[in-house]
């Protein structure tokens, strides 16, 4: 029981990270209908920018602790958002209105570029950091098993919830959010009604990248080790989460992320660590076979 509770905590904090990345996938998919394959690598860039600014702050002796985390988060969000914007501008905008596979291949190419760019710029070795926020609260002690709720996990859950709250407000209450939703429903009609669709799409990428940067920073702080290759697997899992929740649906993306995080954690805890990815992918396949539009997705109406 205590063991399960611990896994629940671990799973939720992992799922929050997946959820944040998944929101970026689902947003882009909703608006321009393409799989942004490079999004996982944008997450990786976010983690690296956080690493660099953290090393600068801490080893420079400028500051430490929670204040440093806040600054690192903001720096990472800004730089990564710039990367998200650039990726869209270079690789996707020229292909707007082209056929469906062209942006997909371009995105795969961009993913290769970002990964190898980071490998060349920062080296192929893994980058370890010292824990920034050690310690935690003991929730329960039973059968000689101590359930720990670490400060870092609390931070991840709190930051994710705060960011998602801001994001929800942005999408539902602001003119930009209205423009985004309008583009999602009908891009041509939205542009006829005076919405600058190119700008809206750019901003979608910027917001998605900023959310991925939050996820990257949290990943770095939680696990303490990153390398240039983390983007691929995290990206695939997050996309799985987005599809599981119903692609195009924002609450679905977060729900899917949580589910994938929980499935992965419980599977590793009770069955085998090696096959945790198999478990996540199998659940995806099974869900899609029985609910082809995901958990919260809208059923697609077929028109002749």
């Amino acid at each position: 029981m205590a063991y399960a509770l611990q896994q629940l905590i671990n799973g939720i904090s992992l799922g929050m990270i997946y959820g944040l990345i998944a929101v970026g996938y689902t947003m882009v998919y909703g608006i321009i209908g393409m799989i942004n394959f490079a999004h996982g690598d944008v997450f990786m860039i976010g983690a690296f920018v956080a690493l660099i600014s953290l090393v600068m702050l801490v080893s420079g002796g400028i500051m430490d602790g929670p204040a440093a985390i806040l600054i690192v988060l903001l720096v990472s969000m800004c730089v990564t958002a710039l990367y998200g914007w650039t990726v869209e501008r270079i690789a996707y905008r020229p292909l707007r209105g082209s056929f469906r596979l062209a942006p997909l291949i371009s995105a795969i190419g961009m993913s290769i570029v970002l990964q190898n760019y980071m490998q060349v710029a920062q080296g192929a070795r893994v980058k370890p950091i010292n824990p920034v926020l050690p310690g935690g609260v003991t929730v329960l002690e039973a059968d000689a098993f101590v359930v720990q709720f670490s400060y870092m996990q609390m931070l991840i859950i709190a930051v994710t919830l705060a960011v998602l709250a801001i994001f929800t407000w942005l999408v539902t209450r602001t003119p930009l959010g209205r423009a985004m939703r309008a583009c999602e429903q009908d891009r041509k009609m939205a542009s006829l009604l005076g919405i600058d669709t190119d700008r809206t799409i750019s901003l979608t990428f910027v917001i998605g990248a900023a959310l991925a940067a939050v996820a990257g920073t949290m990943y770095l702080l939680r696990y303490g080790v990153i390398d240039f290759y983390i983007g691929f697997l995290a990206g695939v899992k997050a996309f799985t989460a987005a599809v599981l929740g119903g692609i195009g649906s924002l609450p679905g993306a977060v729900l899917g992320g949580l589910l994938i995080g929980l499935i992965e954690t419980f599977w590793s805890a009770y069955f085998s660590v090696q096959y945790k990815d198999v478990a996540a992918f199998s659940i995806l396949a099974i869900t899609l076979i029985f609910m082809p539009t995901g958990l919260l997705g809208r059923a697609e109406v077929e028109k002749v």
Binding site: Y29, I35, A102, I108
Partner: protein, 440 residues
Amino acid sequence: MSSATAAASAAQRPSAGAAALKDAVLTALIALGLFAPIVGLRTDVSPTGGLMLRQRWGDVAILVGLAFAGRLALLAWRAMRDGPKPASAGRAAALRKAGAFVTPVMLVLAVALPFVPGTGRYELDLGILVLTYVMLGWGLNIVVGLAGLLDLGYVAFYAVGAYAYALLATTFGLSFWICLPLAGILAAFWGVLLGFPVLRLRGDYLAIVTLAFGEIIRIVLTNWVSLTNGPNGITSIPRPTFFGLTFSAGGGPGSFADFFGIEPSPTHRVVFLYYLILALALLTNWVSIRLRRQPLGRAWEALREDEIACRALGINVTTTKLTAFALGAMFAGFAGSFFATRQGFISPESFTFIESAIILAIVVLGGMGSQIGIAIAALVMIGGFEVFRDLDEYRMLVFGGAMVLIMVARPRGLVGSRTPTVALGERKTIGAEHVAEGRG
């Protein structure tokens, strides 16, 4: 009219130049924001175990300068392109005439390559590699180009073929020629097995599930150590024989050199492997061209164009999709067992997602559905990748950049025209934009 436009654009030129300069400065600023944190500050593991920063502002300056110059050059090129255009109708006709010769010339070159003077071991090995990808491209083309089903896990079938041959040959001592069809059948079986549950899915859902299956197969191959020897892979896979004649380097009785009474040479095996993969690739090509003219191939293409209309016309969508999956997988299985026999060693490392992505990129860059386009794309991508081998760690960077660049420049692929499979009367070449890409 045109002189007036020219005069107007001449009057605008100073301001256009200023605008271009402003644009380039903005690009340079963005580049500074992109490169300053990641290139400028390099994290290294310090002797004490922690991380330290190394500053490299010179590299950042070079990159920002490159972005500035590149943007200016791009703007200048665009201004020139938008200027007066030369008559392109004559050029297009000339190109089409030349295009008719491309296929036979490439085929003759491919057949004659081992006998071209100056062709050494290296060129032949490169040829084998390119032909392997041509074959994989043609195989995937059946699924993606003809039936319009987006498959991101194609490498799984390649892996099934490779492991099928390696395991059958090392465990039961079966020869390559018995294993080749078995590997193909096994891969096709897996194609049906994986294809069956996902047939209800469409578009990107199908893409992600096939990707997931590809990853599952790779993870199983890595972790099922008792069968596959895990990450260490399978070694000493037997080499193929030529009607029972071996290609041992020392000659000896029963060897190829001994039977034909020629000097033993290690090149014989390479040449043999080269012709083997050429034959396999041409088989793939021949089967897909023939099938396109048959009811099954027409059903695939109809399915790609409009699934609902297909169903209304009574085409069995399930069987049609499954046959496409199975045939594509079978050719990947053949290619996989060839890969295993050529390398003599396989491990799960060779079957990562990036391989699927490269094969799909070859199909799309070649212009989906165009056989010769895929061959050219494989030559450009894989050959180009080898040409840039001196770039070391920058090689993949250039490779990815080239993928983006080709796609942005030619979204419909390198070969942008199609000949319809069936035509009433004259067979006209149409633009690739008239061909649907399928939603399955």
